[in-house]
C-alpha cells in the first residue's frame, strides 16, 4: 500500500507513521527531511520549494512502486511539501514498514535518494545577500 501526498501545508509525521502501521510489520523506518540553517557554511534564511505537481506525484508513486518491487516492504508513505519553509521545517517525510528492518532501511534510503534525483521539485535557497536555485549549475 502506497500513500503519496504533495501538500502546500505542514506535513504530519504521525500520519505517515500511522499509514505504514500494520500487524505484519516488525518495524518502520522514517526519514524526516528538515531545512538546515546553512549550506556550505553559508547561513540560510528560508527555502522555497516548487513542484510540477502532477508529474511530481507520478514520479513519487513510481519510486514507491519500485521500492515495493525491489525490497520486501509492506507500506510506504511519501509526503512532500511546497511553498516557503523556515529553518527546522519539514519538506519531506518518507515512512516504510517491513517485516524485517533491513528491508525498511534499504527501501527508505532508496526512496529519498531517488526522490532527490528524479522528482520534479525545485528548491530555492534564500540568504542574507541573495538566493539560488539549488543544484542548477555544475
Amino acid at each position: 500500500m502506497i500513500d503519496i501526498q504533495l501538500k502546500t501545508t505542514s506535513l504530519s509525521i504521525p500520519d505517515c507513521e500511522a499509514f505504514v502501521e500494520t500487524d505484519a510489520a516488525g518495524g518502520a523506518v522514517v526519514f524526516i527531511g528538515t531545512v538546515r540553517n546553512k549550506t556550505q557554511s553559508k547561513a540560510v534564511i528560508r527555502l522555497e520549494f516548487e513542484a510540477y505537481a502532477p508529474m511530481a506525484i507520478r514520479e513519487m508513486r513510481k519510486i514507491a512502486e519500485r521500492a515495493t518491487t525491489e525490497f520486501a516492504v509492506l507500506r510506504i508513505a511519501i509526503h512532500h511539501r511546497t511553498g516557503v519553509l523556515g529553518i527546522g521545517e519539514v519538506p519531506v517525510v518518507i515512512a516504510v514498514s517491513a517485516a524485517h528492518r533491513g528491508a525498511a532501511f534499504a527501501a527508505c534510503q532508496f526512496c529519498i535518494d531517488t526522490l532527490k534525483e528524479t522528482v520534479p521539485i525545485w528548491k530555492r535557497e534564500f540568504f542574507e545577500d541573495g538566493d539560488t536555485w539549488v543544484a542548477a549549475h555544475p
Binding site: 510540477y52 508529474m55 511530481a56 526522490l115 520534479p120 543544484a135 542548477a136
Partner: protein, 80 residues
C-alpha cells in the same frame, strides 16, 4: 505546430515566465526541441542538465512531440 511549454525553477527565470509558446516543425523530437531551445536561450547551456517532460513523463531524446502534448522544461531537480 505551436507548443505551449511549462517552465519551473531556474528555467522559468531564464525564459521569463511560467509558460511560453514555441513553434516547431511537425515530427520534432525531444532532442531537436532541446537543441532549438538552447539556440534560442543559450543560458540553458549553463545548467547541469535540462530535461523535457512530455505528458508528465521524462521524454527520451527520440520521443516525437505531438500537437497538444503537455511539454515542460525540467532543470536540475532539488527536492527532498
Amino acid at each position: 505546430m505551436n507548443l505551449k511549454i511549462l517552465t519551473f525553477g531556474i528555467a522559468r527565470d531564464i525564459v521569463g515566465g511560467s509558460t511560453f509558446s514555441f513553434t516547431v516543425a511537425r515530427g520534432t523530437t525531444v532532442a531537436q526541441l532541446k537543441q532549438t531551445l538552447l539556440d534560442r536561450y543559450p543560458t540553458f547551456g549553463n545548467l547541469s542538465s535540462l530535461l523535457i517532460a512530455v505528458n508528465e513523463e521524462y521524454g527520451d531524446d527520440d520521443t516525437i512531440i505531438e500537437e497538444n502534448d503537455d511539454i515542460a522544461l525540467i532543470p536540475p531537480v532539488s527536492g527532498g
